[in-house]
């Protein structure tokens, strides 16, 4: 099912949680709503599920205007952060419950629930109570319960945040597998950029209720729309050094020429030079010099911290060169993963 959001605004008293949000979500895709806490992503999800109604704007499911339609009529499946499995019902009863409400005959109910249980791999524990399951198993049951009535849209609200790190990776792959097998349009809310990057067809990145960028995960990483997007994505976080534009050159605050060039930016504009750790090249012929702070070996990679433009930054360097503390090295940048943003507005110049 295709979803169209038109100029959605949601205000709580004086507080605007979502502001002028427009997006289209293609049928059968898994789209992640990503952003730090308080960015309005859960509010957005609640408006999609019909738990909240927008103050302004329209929501369309295919061609139906569902803006003010109540939840149960929308045909959605919802998975909560803490799963909200009914503790007094067995796994089977939990999965059956949405069908029971729809007055599906008991025999068919159980049949469909068992099929769902197989899909999410909990068929061996149908008679257990949720309290007897591990977090990952509860998660699977919650997904089965959301999917059993064959919703047009599956909504997942931070479904992995209660799991430990290893299980989280396993479950996000499971969610992707289940989504691909059923082909259900899915919206996934998370604050974890790695989770979002690994699972989604598209990511919607939000900040303070405003959509920042809506793109494929890799594109979000390679071509961030603004400084916030660049800061939010990537591990280790992107390096940021302050500077000023002079004649198209980005001059660092310490007076060095960063060798990065921008066009059509007035002289004297304060900027951030942001670059990914993998975009740094150790190049002793380069006139741009930096001082090594330390190197640390992390598995197959060597990450070097060095001081550039008065800031400590990090880069993946050629591991053959053994760098020592306080050693002066030459630095240059690759063509990709290097950006220039306005210091104030975060607008991207390069």
């Amino acid at each position: 099912m295709k979803i169209r959001l038109e100029n959605i605004v949601k205000r709580f008293d004086d507080n605007t949680a979502v502001n002028d949000f427009s997006a289209e979500i293609e049928s059968g895709e898994l789209v992640t709503l990503l952003g730090p806490s308080g960015c309005g992503k859960s509010t957005m999800l609640n408006m999609l599920s019909g738990i909240l109604y927008p103050t302004e704007g329209k929501i369309y499911f295919d061609d139906d205007d569902v803006t003010y339609m109540s939840s149960e009529k929308r045909g959605i499946g919802l998975v909560f952060q803490n799963y909200a499995l009914y503790p007094h019902m067995t796994v089977l009863e939990n999965i059956c419950f949405p069908l029971e409400i729809k007055r599906v005959p008991k025999k068919e109910r159980i049949e469909r629930a068992k099929k769902m249980a197989e899909l999410v791999h909990v068929e061996g524990m149908l008679n257990r109570k949720p309290g007897q399951l591990s977090g990952g198993q509860q998660q699977r049951v919650a997904i089965a319960r959301a999917l059993v009535k064959e919703p047009r849209l599956l909504l997942l609200d931070e479904p992995l945040s209660n799991l430990d790190a290893r299980l989280r990776i396993e479950m996000r792959e499971e969610i992707r597998r289940i989504q691909l097998e059923t082909g259900v349009t899915t919206i996934f809310v998370t604050h974890d950029q790695e989770e979002a990057m690994s699972i989604s067809d598209h990511i919607i990145l939000m900040k303070l209720g405003v959509l920042q960028q809506y793109d494929k995960p890799q594109y979000l990483y390679d071509q961030p729309a603004n400084c916030f997007v660049a800061d939010f994505l990537g591990n280790p976080p992107i390096n940021k050094v302050e500077g000023v534009v002079e004649g198209g050159k980005v001059i660092l605050n310490t007076g060095e020429d960063s060798l990065v060039r921008v066009e059509n930016v007035p002289d004297g504009t304060k900027v951030y030079l942001s670059f990914r750790a993998e975009s740094v090249i150790l190049d002793n012929k380069s006139p741009l010099k930096a001082k090594v702070v330390m190197t640390s070996v992390m598995g197959k990679e060597v990450i070097t911290s060095f001081v550039l433009g008065g800031k400590e930054v990090r880069g993946y360097m050629n591991s053959d060169a053994e760098l020592e503390r306080d050693q002066e090295i030459g630095i240059s940048f690759k063509k990709t993963g290097v950006f220039v943003f306005d210091y104030e507005s975060g607008e991207r110049y390069l």
């Binding site: 599920s49 939840s71 919802l78 803490n82 503790p87 419950f97 949405p98 309290g131």
Partner: protein, 312 residues
């Protein structure tokens, strides 16, 4: 281990002493004494003399038609008041738990019986129950129904005391149930509503089962307190109904001990012990039910861990 000085070792006991002393004097000693008294035949309270030891008092108590009537009245009272008050309280607590207008007004109204003197309120009920000037019978006559002689004999006064009893235990019951309701994660309701569940289905399939442990607790606590029914009789009838038709077990104890001359201490003690045993059985039942409900919810920590390990 280093041996601590004597005073250090007995210090905890000193802190506990006031409690131990008062419990011993005012709780343990009377219990033991009552049990002892129940086995002494022909016991004289003042002289301490008795004629024999045995189950004679129990035999007499069971043979006493007054006691049988007291027992049947008490059970009837428990069996009516507890279920009815529980059902009413569950419904009212559920309503009070909703976000409604004038919520605090309703809460105050329902909790009023708790903060007022039961004697004063009982007298007010006595007026309401009155055949001639009472509002209840007035309403019945307006509705074209037969009036009920609430304060007379023939079962009418049993109804009156049952209504008064239900009304008096509602506030405590509602408070306990409300706290149980507030422990239910509202997310369960949201989840059910998103799936299209209506109010009644949510109430019976989610609220009531999740509240079941609290309901069980309330039923048992109320059973224990209604078994001891006694003081409700005084403001309404000034005694155990008309011609003793509302004898209850506690009133029987009081009657044998205080009203009769000469008092039959042994019978009173035996009846008291029988009541103690009944209440004790209920308490045990409560513990068993609570343990069962914890197991039902899979809250048995060891078991949960075992399951998790199996599936790792």
């Amino acid at each position: 281990m280093i041996k601590r000085p004597f005073f250090e070792r007995i210090k905890p006991l000193l802190y506990l002493l006031p409690f131990i002393v008062s419990v011993t004097i005012f709780t343990l000693y009377p219990i033991v004494n009552v049990i002892r008294m129940s086995f002494l035949e022909g016991y004289k309270y003042l002289t301490g003399a008795y004629t024999g030891i045995g189950f004679g008092n129990y035999q007499k108590v069971f043979a006493d038609p007054y006691f049988r009537q007291a027992l049947s009245n008490t059970f009837k009272y428990v069996l009516i008041v507890v279920p009815v008050s529980t059902v009413i309280a569950v419904v009212l607590a559920n309503l009070l738990n909703q976000k409604i207008k004038f919520q605090s007004f309703f809460q105050t109204a329902y909790f009023l019986p708790m903060v007022t003197s039961s004697l004063a309120v009982g007298l007010a009920w006595r007026f309401m129950f009155n055949d001639k000037i009472g509002i209840l019978n007035y309403v019945f006559s307006l509705l074209g129904m037969d009036t009920i002689p609430f304060l007379g004999k023939s079962g009418g006064n049993f109804l009156a005391v049952a209504i008064f009893g239900i009304w008096s235990i509602l506030p405590n019951t509602i408070i306990l149930l409300l706290s149980g309701l507030q422990n239910i994660d509202p997310l369960y309701y949201t989840a059910a509503k998103v799936d299209g569940a209506k109010t009644l289905r949510i109430f019976f399939r989610i609220t009531v089962p999740l509240l079941a442990p609290t309901i069980m607790l309330v039923v048992i606590i109320n059973s224990i307190s209604t078994f001891k029914m006694y003081h409700e009789l005084f403001p309404l009838f000034g005694g155990p109904g008309v011609a003793y038709n509302l004898f209850t077990v506690v009133y029987y104890i009081y009657y044998e001990f205080r009203v009769l001359t000469p008092p039959k201490y042994g019978l009173a003690a035996a009846a008291a012990v029988l009541l103690l045993i009944t209440v004790f059985i209920f308490t045990m039942l409560q513990r068993a039910v609570q343990a069962w409900s914890r197991r039902e919810r899979g809250e048995d920590v060891k078991k949960v861990k075992k399951h998790r390990d199996e599936f790792r």
